[in-house]
């Protein structure tokens, strides 16, 4: 949520574009995609034709018919305007992106080692290019040689440069970003027109927008309702003729347009576009609307412990000395072993030693001092200094080291190790000259507020599972502290995959974040896979969303946006249908009170005249579209609560409200019409 690129809703430039677009969208071929509004357009055309005919014949009541016709057209235009507004907001974003895409030149590496200059747009997947400081990276790819700081602000909006290097999980670079220092060799991974930037532009513009499953289902419902109302209105004429009270086409079309769910019909695609747009504002790119919808449906969130639940790094919290060893002794050794250790853990040990035991940092200037870095083989680090051989590492590594030196780990130390692990900490054993001195307690720091967040998710029916490489004891303790529902300890990529499959077999939808190449299969398997932008190209390809901020916590916001999208649709559908009650009470008495004055009993709003009643209903029906555009674009307010409470709230607001509001609205419009003298 930190930095949203939100714009004012009524940005002048967007509005003026939308005004043009809404006329362009009158093209029946485009209107046909929206059956509800297409019916309105057909109705408008019919009344227009009749209006011209009536004008030539000087039929009385022309003023009323003209107003009805105009407002019917306004109804169509307002719907188009809503869609154009939503698209306009996306386009504005796309324009910014397009600037980054201005064609770049690439130094393509030839097989013989020489380079040739080619336009970036000519690069194909598999090509190797050299990019030096100051140059723009010509296409998406992975660094296969070198390290560089890269300015990715064109895509992420974040001005601070990021480090990209060959190998590991930070090797992906994106076309359009700029190398600030050093030189890298990049293996291009996308073909022209398929780059990340291309996809992103297409996405925010809504060009590739396909209807999502729920949107299709809702569209069917709305089309069905439209047919029902079409039937009700078309067959009303025979009944009216039977009753000797036949109606004009203008009134019948008015009734039809008022009854069919124009409100939601007009705003439906805007809601969908706006949902994508909201994600983009959160710096998340969804590869499909389907993914956004699925996010709202997620049952299980797989969250990586590090970075999501805990702060990225563990910190030393305590020194626990072995029997016969003083804490100072331990702290001293620990500090010495960590002085050259530039890892955050290492630094935190130095700081703890300084703060708790007043041990100042010392220069290990002496040439005898020999730093032993962590290696995957020994899984220890340490220092050889002044004849002291200090090692620190995980308990099993130190145990092996001790037994090599025909020593052993005292029982007490063993016990300490277990206590720390059970409490969710990471024990780091320190040994000097083959003797265990004690344990450093490295602690995971759970992010503030995360527990409340999980409680909200639980209320919404979403289960959280923490994924960690820690041992089960440690994992359990952190899981408890963070309030997650479950955890997967010592997780391998396969474990993760199995868990996803198991959840899915139970019919659940699973969301996860990931960055590494080994996350790719799980990202692909999950229903919502959010790849970190800093991650590898493979991860980004496998997931269906990319978080440009590379913030794993973002998953929670993505879920909320997904839910908000569905809720907005549901609420406006309810509102739209509920509105019909008042419209009936406005139009039916107006239609027949002329022939049967007793039917004025149904005119409970006491609308002035039949003409003003029909007109008021039509005007209300049109204006409510405009009035709800902001709601459609922003989405209905989301509050984390259980479904029952949420439904009660939304039913009250949009269902009951939807019944009441038009009674008031139509009455007010009727009064205005009477005052102005329109009918």
């Amino acid at each position: 949520m930190s930095k949203t690129k939100s714009k004012s809703l009524w940005d002048a430039k967007i509005v003026s574009h939308a005004l043009l677009d809404c006329v362009r969208k009158l093209d029946p071929r485009m209107m046909m995609r929206n059956p509800v509004m297409f019916v309105v357009e057909v109705g408008s055309v019919i009344t227009s034709v009749l209006l011209v005919r009536d004008a030539m014949r000087h039929v009385p009541g022309f003023g009323f018919d003209l107003q009805i016709t105009l407002w019917l057209w306004f109804t169509v235009l307002f719907a188009n305007f809503a869609e154009a507004m939503a698209e306009g907001r996306g386009k504005a974003q796309a324009d910014t992106l397009r600037k980054a895409k201005s064609d770049t030149l690439a130094n393509r590496l030839l097989p013989d080692g020489r380079t040739e200059v080619v336009p970036g747009s000519k690069l194909r997947s598999g090509d190797l290019v050299i990019v030096s400081a100051g140059e723009v990276i010509p296409g998406d790819g992975d660094i296969i040689e070198g390290i560089a700081s890269v300015d990715e602000s064109a895509i992420t909006g974040e001005s601070a440069p990021v480090i990209r290097e060959a190998g590991g999980d930070r090797s992906a670079v994106t076309g359009g970003t700029r190398v600030l220092s050093d030189q890298i060799k990049v293996k291009i991974s996308s073909n022209p027109g398929e780059t990340f930037l291309d996809r992103m532009i297409a996405l925010v513009e809504g060009a590739e927008r396909q209807k999502t499953p729920n949107e299709i289902a809702l569209n069917i419902l709305l089309a069905g309702l439209t047919v029902v109302f079409l039937l009700a209105v078309v067959t009303l004429q025979p009944f009216a003729i039977y009753s000797k009270a036949s109606q004009t086409i203008f009134v019948l079309v008015s009734l039809l347009v008022c009854l069919i769910p124009t409100t939601i019909g007009a705003l439906l695609s805007a809601i969908g576009i706006a949902g994508m747009d909201r994600l983009v504002q959160h710096n998340v790119l969804a590869m499909s609307g389907r993914a956004v919808e699925a996010a709202g449906d997620v049952n299980t969130l797989l969250l990586d412990k590090t970075g999501t639940i805990t702060l990225g790094n563990r910190q030393a919290a305590e020194f626990v000395a072995a029997p016969g060893v003083s804490n100072d002794q331990l702290a001293d050794a620990a500090q010495l072993s960590s002085l050259p250790d530039e890892t955050p853990e290492g630094r935190s040990i130095v700081i703890l030693a300084k703060e708790q035991y007043g041990l100042r940092g010392r220069e290990l200037g002496s040439p005898q001092a020999q730093f032993v870095p962590f290696s995957a083989h020994t899984r220890m680090s340490g220092v050889n200094f002044d004849g002291r051989v200090i090692r620190k590492g995980a308990v099993d590594a130190i145990q092996r080291y001790l037994s090599e030196n025909s020593s052993y780990l005292p029982k007490e130390v063993q016990a300490t190790v277990e206590t720390i692990a059970r409490a969710g900490g990471t024990p780091l054993v320190v040994a000097e000259n083959g003797r265990a001195l004690g344990v450093i307690h490295l602690k995971d720091i759970v992010k503030g507020g995360i527990k409340e967040r999980f409680a909200q998710l639980r209320a919404m029916g979403i289960r959280t599972v923490m994924i960690t490489g820690d041992n089960p004891l440690t994992a359990a303790a952190i899981a408890r502290e963070a309030g997650v529902d479950d955890f997967l300890a010592q997780a391998t990529p396969k474990d993760k995959m199995d868990l996803i499959k198991k959840e899915q077999a139970e019919g659940k939808l699973v969301a996860m974040t990931g960055d590494g190449t080994n996350d790719a299969p799980a990202l692909a398997q999950s229903d919502v896979g959010v790849a970190m932008n800093t991650g590898t190209q493979a991860a980004k390809e496998a997931g269906n969303m990319v978080d440009l901020d590379s913030n794993p916590t973002k998953l929670l916001e993505i879920v909320e946006i997904g839910k908000q999208l569905l809720m907005t649709r549901g609420s406006l559908t309810t509102f739209s249908i509920a509105n019909d009650v008042a419209k009936y009470f406005a139009i039916i008495p107006a239609m027949f009170a002329g022939t049967f004055p007793v039917l004025n009993a149904l005119n409970i709003m006491h609308l002035a005249t039949p003409q003003s009643a029909v007109l008021s209903a039509v005007i209300f029906n049109a204006l409510v579209i405009i009035a709800l555009i902001p709601l459609a674009l922003r989405g209905v307010k989301y509050r984390p609560m259980n479904a029952e409470a949420l439904l009660r709230r939304n039913l009250l607001l949009y269902g009951v409200g939807g019944v009441i509001v038009p009674f008031i609205g139509i009455k007010i419009i009727d009064v205005i019409i009477r005052v102005v003298g329109l009918a």
Partner: protein, 597 residues
């Protein structure tokens, strides 16, 4: 409205409430093929039946095969009923020597009874031989009810099963419905009804000598009184009354139990031979709701969500009370145009609008019966809806328009209600921000499409055919009343036909247009609606089931009940309000203003 009147209504509801669980449990056992105490008698009979008809009881069917089997059975048995009517003059058990039924009427009646509608464009005691009544009409009362129950069970299985291809065996479900439920209950019910005075014999009609011979004006060929040379009407002396007979009780039982409603006699359950006492009336009303109410419990049991079953029951109960309250209020108020009469309730009389009603039932029981018979798709009547007050008559009409889902027809009410539940859940699901789920099954585009098709066919048939009838001379010629009431008669006919109810605003008489169009719309209202319903069942069955979580909208709470009621009323009202406003609503307002037609 009187205290006693309300007491009877509440007593009735209490009895239904008490019977719901035992009936529901029994039906669940029967359809799950679990052991019941009737197995000793019925199991051998069942096996014999399967052997004779080449049914493999272990083989389950996809929804498509289920639908095809159902259609084949309905087609064959409908054809048999048609032929039986056409040939009855050559067949036995025809003591009154009735001739064969005319082709268009025979088609109408065959369609009517095959579809569980029991719309009757004939007067039973004047047209149908005992054989036609027993082996044709009463037979279909069993068959169409059993088919309805089978379909509802298939639908429930669709919800309950996970990743399954099959939804049961149509023949087995139908057979078990007949042998375990319909036959035993019919036998017991027949005896109860006979004990109250419903007749049961195969005798020719009885002629009796009147206590007081009557002078009646002679009617000429044109139906008008013949005038003698002295200018006075010619009088005939009538000394006899002919009394109809027949195997009525055996048909009466299944007529109510199977929510069929087709009377043996023209006056249906208003006739003292079909419904002789207040208790027989009460008993018949209980039979109408017995199976449909039980199905709510069966639903809960088969889907392992008893609370959901009760939530559905509650929704039905709310709509039931809304209907009966309106009808009772309207009928008890009486007819404002009959100013010179005493319509007030007192200890001496129930008062109210007594045209078309029987004294032994009074207003409360007549309003209650009209509500029940149209809540369910029964269509039996103990008072004639055409003569009800405009609003009192609108209640049965509106009940059918809502889809007969207030307990509803046997089976048909259940699956009709569940379609509305699916739609409610869809809208509710969106409002809570999830892809809608119903008892763990995701409701997706296909389900919505089929549900909308189901919802759409109904008004399509009703409104289009009513529209045509209200403009054409053959449509208007058959009307028994004019003005808004005439429009209501048309609307009621097609609503009753499409809804497979069978009750009528009986002033509308038969002619070729109505025989054919009604026959057509009854078939549409049954079979065209069943197919999308079964498609949903088949589609739901093959889905995975998502375990419920706090994020899924619970279908067991009062909020759910309220939502379903709201969706049903809004859908029904929005579809039919314009038509109703020119029919009963207009008539009500005009009657208040003293206008007659």
């Amino acid at each position: 409205m009187t205290f006693n009147g309300w007491f009877q209504i509440l007593l009735y509801f209490a009895v239904i409430l008490l019977l719901t669980k035992p009936m529901g449990v029994f039906m669940a056992k029967v359809f799950n093929r679990e052991r019941t105490w009737l197995d000793g008698v019925m199991r051998p009979l069942e096996r014999l039946l399967y052997r004779l008809t080449k049914i493999d009881e272990e083989r389950e069917m996809s929804w498509k095969e289920y639908a095809v089997s159902m259609l084949l059975f309905s087609a064959v048995s409908m054809l048999v009923l048609y032929l039986l009517q056409r040939a009855q003059q050559w067949l036995p058990l025809n003591p009154q020597k009735f001739s064969g039924v005319a082709p268009d009427l025979a088609f109408n009646t065959a369609a009517s009874f095959t579809t569980n509608t029991n719309w009757q464009f004939y007067s039973g005691e004047q047209v149908m031989s005992y054989l036609t009544q027993m082996a044709g009409l009463a037979y279909h009362n069993f068959a169409s009810a059993a088919v309805g129950m089978a379909l509802a069970v298939a639908f429930i299985r669709g919800i309950a099963r996970k990743e399954a291809k099959a939804i049961g065996n149509f023949w087995v479900d139908t057979t078990r419905a007949i042998l375990w439920i319909l036959v035993p209950l019919s036998i017991v019910s027949s005896i109860v009804l006979i004990s109250q005075g419903v007749i049961q014999n195969n005798k020719p009609y009885t002629t009796v000598k009147l206590v007081e011979p009557q002078q009646v004006p002679r009617a000429g060929q044109d139906g008008k009184p013949v005038v003698g040379p002295d200018g006075k009407p010619v009088m005939d002396t009538v000394t006899e009354q002919t009394i109809a007979n027949g195997p009525i009780a055996s048909q009466e039982a299944i007529k109510e139990l199977g929510t069929n409603g087709g009377g043996f006699l023209n006056a249906n359950s208003a006739h003292p031979f079909e419904n002789p006492t207040p208790f027989s009336n009460f008993f018949e009303m209980v039979l109408i709701f017995l199976i449909p109410a039980g199905f709510t419990y069966t639903l809960g049991r088969m889907t392992n969500s008893q609370a959901h079953g009760w939530a559905v029951f509650a929704a039905m109960a709310i709509l039931f009370f809304a209907g009966v309250t309106t009808a009772y209020w309207a009928e008890a108020r009486g007819n404002p145009l009959l100013t010179a009469t005493d319509q007030r309730a007192s200890t001496m009389q129930p008062g109210g609008n007594m045209e078309g009603k029987e004294v032994r039932f009074g207003i409360a029981n007549s309003a209650l019966f009209a509500t029940i018979t149209t809540d369910a798709s029964c269509g039996a009547v103990n008072g004639f809806h055409d003569s009800y007050t405009p609003l009192g008559g609108m209640v049965p009409l509106a009940n059918i328009m809502l889809g007969e889902i207030v307990f509803g027809g046997v089976g048909a009410g259940m699956y009709g209600m569940l379609i509305f539940v699916v739609l409610s859940v869809f809208i509710a699901g969106l409002m809570v921000g999830r892809t809608p789920e119903y008892l763990g099954k995701k409701i997706e585009a296909y389900d919505v499409k089929m549900a909308m098709l189901y919802v759409l066919i109904f008004p399509l048939a009703i409104l289009v055919l009513s529209g045509i009838s209200s403009l054409t001379s053959s449509g208007l010629a058959a009307l028994g009343n004019s003005g808004p009431h005439g429009l209501t008669e048309i609307l009621y006919a097609f609503t009753s036909g499409t809804g497979n109810n069978g009750s009528a605003f009986g002033g509308l008489g038969p002619n070729r247009w109505y025989n054919l169009s009604m026959g057509f719309t009854m078939l549409v209202g049954r079979f065209l609606m069943i197919i999308p319903m079964l498609a949903i069942a088949g589609n739901l069955a093959q889905k995975k089931s998502v375990p419920p979580s706090p994020g899924t909208f619970p279908v067991t709470t009062p909020l759910f009940t309220g939502l379903v009621v709201g969706v049903i009323i809004i859908m029904g009202a929005l579809t039919f309000f314009p038509a109703l406003s020119l029919g009963p609503i207009l008539e009500h307002l005009l009657a208040g203003a003293g206008k007659t037609f």
